[in-house]
Symmetry: C2
Subunit: 417 residues, 2 copies
Amino acid sequence: MNKLKGAAILGQSGGPTSVINASAAGVFLQALKEENITRVYGAAHGIRGILNEEFYDINQEDVKELELLKTTPSSSIGSVRYKLKPLEEDDSEYRRLLEVFKKYNIRYFFYNGGNDSMDTCNKVSKFFKDSGYECYCMGVPKTIDNDLDLTDHCPGYASAAKYVATSIMEIKQDANVYDTPMVTIVEIMGRNAGWLTAASALASYKGNGPDLIYLPEVPFSLDKFYADVDRVYKENHGKVLVAVSEGVKTADGKYIPELLASNLAKDSFGHAQLGGTASVLAQKVKEKLNVKVRAIEFSLLQRCAQHLASKVDIEEAFEAGKIAVKEACKGTTDKMVGFKRHMENGKYKCEYVLFDLALVANTEKKVPLNWITPDHTGLTMDYINYALPLIQGDLKAPLEDGLPRFAKLKKVFVEKL
Amino acid sequence: MNKLKGAAILGQSGGPTSVINASAAGVFLQALKEENITRVYGAAHGIRGILNEEFYDINQEDVKELELLKTTPSSSIGSVRYKLKPLEEDDSEYRRLLEVFKKYNIRYFFYNGGNDSMDTCNKVSKFFKDSGYECYCMGVPKTIDNDLDLTDHCPGYASAAKYVATSIMEIKQDANVYDTPMVTIVEIMGRNAGWLTAASALASYKGNGPDLIYLPEVPFSLDKFYADVDRVYKENHGKVLVAVSEGVKTADGKYIPELLASNLAKDSFGHAQLGGTASVLAQKVKEKLNVKVRAIEFSLLQRCAQHLASKVDIEEAFEAGKIAVKEACKGTTDKMVGFKRHMENGKYKCEYVLFDLALVANTEKKVPLNWITPDHTGLTMDYINYALPLIQGDLKAPLEDGLPRFAKLKKVFVEKL
């Protein structure tokens, strides 16, 4: 058992999810119980909050509100998209972090995010170690993209997948309602990995899903797309439902919006800001096939629709946070809490395992190519069997006046030293 | 008591809702019990199904599946947007309807829809009466637009309102997550009446809603809009959440998308096909104020999100269908079932009342101007008190594999005579 006493801090990083706060609840509630942990802080906007010495005093929060974090979507203490510069280029931010950690005697660092965030956590951990500063650094995974390597799946994915599948089923009911032809194209998030778009196949499995599903794992051909739509249009009395990832690219590496506009905005991680894929495709189908087309973009809804969160997802996200704290207090460092799947007599069970941060940072796990049907417009039963256990159970925020009651944190800033 | 024996037919018309099938369940299950009613039919795609002699034999459906219609969104027997020509211009379709009704001895006609559909029901009823054909014609209201006159509210509205309020609360959680400025503009359905956009005020009432709400009831000024956004932007550290109706118009009568494009598509009722209001406004705000903006359109989701349906709404829609049948069998005709609100000791109670079809057809009830705040960017407590009782309770489709199990009708066509 580790005996190092000091404060703990949690940062939330990257795009929010329905369950990133469930992990925060796990971290906070466990940290408040640990003898080693003297104070519990929440960084305002991730790593930037630490650089700016802006963090909230979690010891002042009501436990009841911390419990409500389990069913509060998005990132309650604020998230950030911020990538530290490579140490060899510029070590000033690392030195600043060390200064802040020392000043507040922070000895337990928890970072909740995706690939980039695991990279940040790993870099910070290394720098502290090289500087001789004892600090236990643990990554807690989250990403609706489900693209973290090694772990079976990522917290946040299942809830977003449940939203995608349910909403597509409802859209299918609606889109078929008139006796006039209509091509409906739904755009789903996922920059490089098609996991979230794949979730629309769950709706098809239930008989209410897209006719055509396009993932970024395989090159997208406009000509094949026209031919696919035309075929379904003819077979299906003019009704076509398409699910497409925002990240599909042509064989020469162009995103769909680039086929119309030459410049794409970039976010601060240097990733292209996508969106508009469905509307560009809708416009192109309309021109080419002269049919009525509607584009729908799930936008933010798919990552914050807590009212459709998966109970399995919430519970796992909460556990991941708790385990990160327990492990750090035992002396574990430089690890990410991950999930291993066990199927026992057809029943799903999640085992919590630890992966080296260095191994998960900056790698992306994509949908296996052999889970994509040979015509590249659907998913095999391998995917369905993978995803179904994850979306089970409902656990939505308690209702007040018929509307969700989210956590209300006091968010008292820790006085700057 | 009416003794006329004959078949009954239900048509679904206009844009679907989360509860139009709940009314269908009410009509079908009640009609199957009535002695006067010899057969129960469902028109495929409303009035067009009758003109084409395409209707389903509801007597062949399983009662269990008809019960599931209560929690199945959209229009299970198919809807239509079709306006009969004025009788004085062309009576051929009326004569055709009469021919079909006579051929199948249809004596009970139920039409479920909004303003235009009540007009259709009224015209058909009049023609039958003038032709000496005894037939009991009843309107069952539905519209997410909530714009039918006389009735306190319309089935379908409350569920859509609950979706809007809940989703806006979730978006607010998400949109505030970074420490960088962001103007988020959410577009909500409603061609002329702002009822659905008003529902976003429920989120504001719960402390998680839009800063600015724009309804089509008052003229929209781009300059005032820029000033409003700029003010909130400065007051609120660059975070602005806007809810805007697709139907807002400038003082000279232009829809927002018309500010970019000169031609607007029209649907078959002759209504302009809107959409794109949020994205045009986002583009304009970006140009004018040079800030980061995101546009979100709820699109079809807001009218078919059964998973967020209001229990009150489902139960009232179901009752409205049942009562239409009971009344017709008593000899009532030419009426629409409507709702009257009673508040007893702060508890909401709905009384079912009958309105003349002629009075509700083709009139539109808008949000009262004195429910809109003087600065035209919010709603008063009058609206909140009006809407809150309607969105209470959850009643979502039973889950199967974690996903909704919607009704599966056999949809056996009645053999053409």
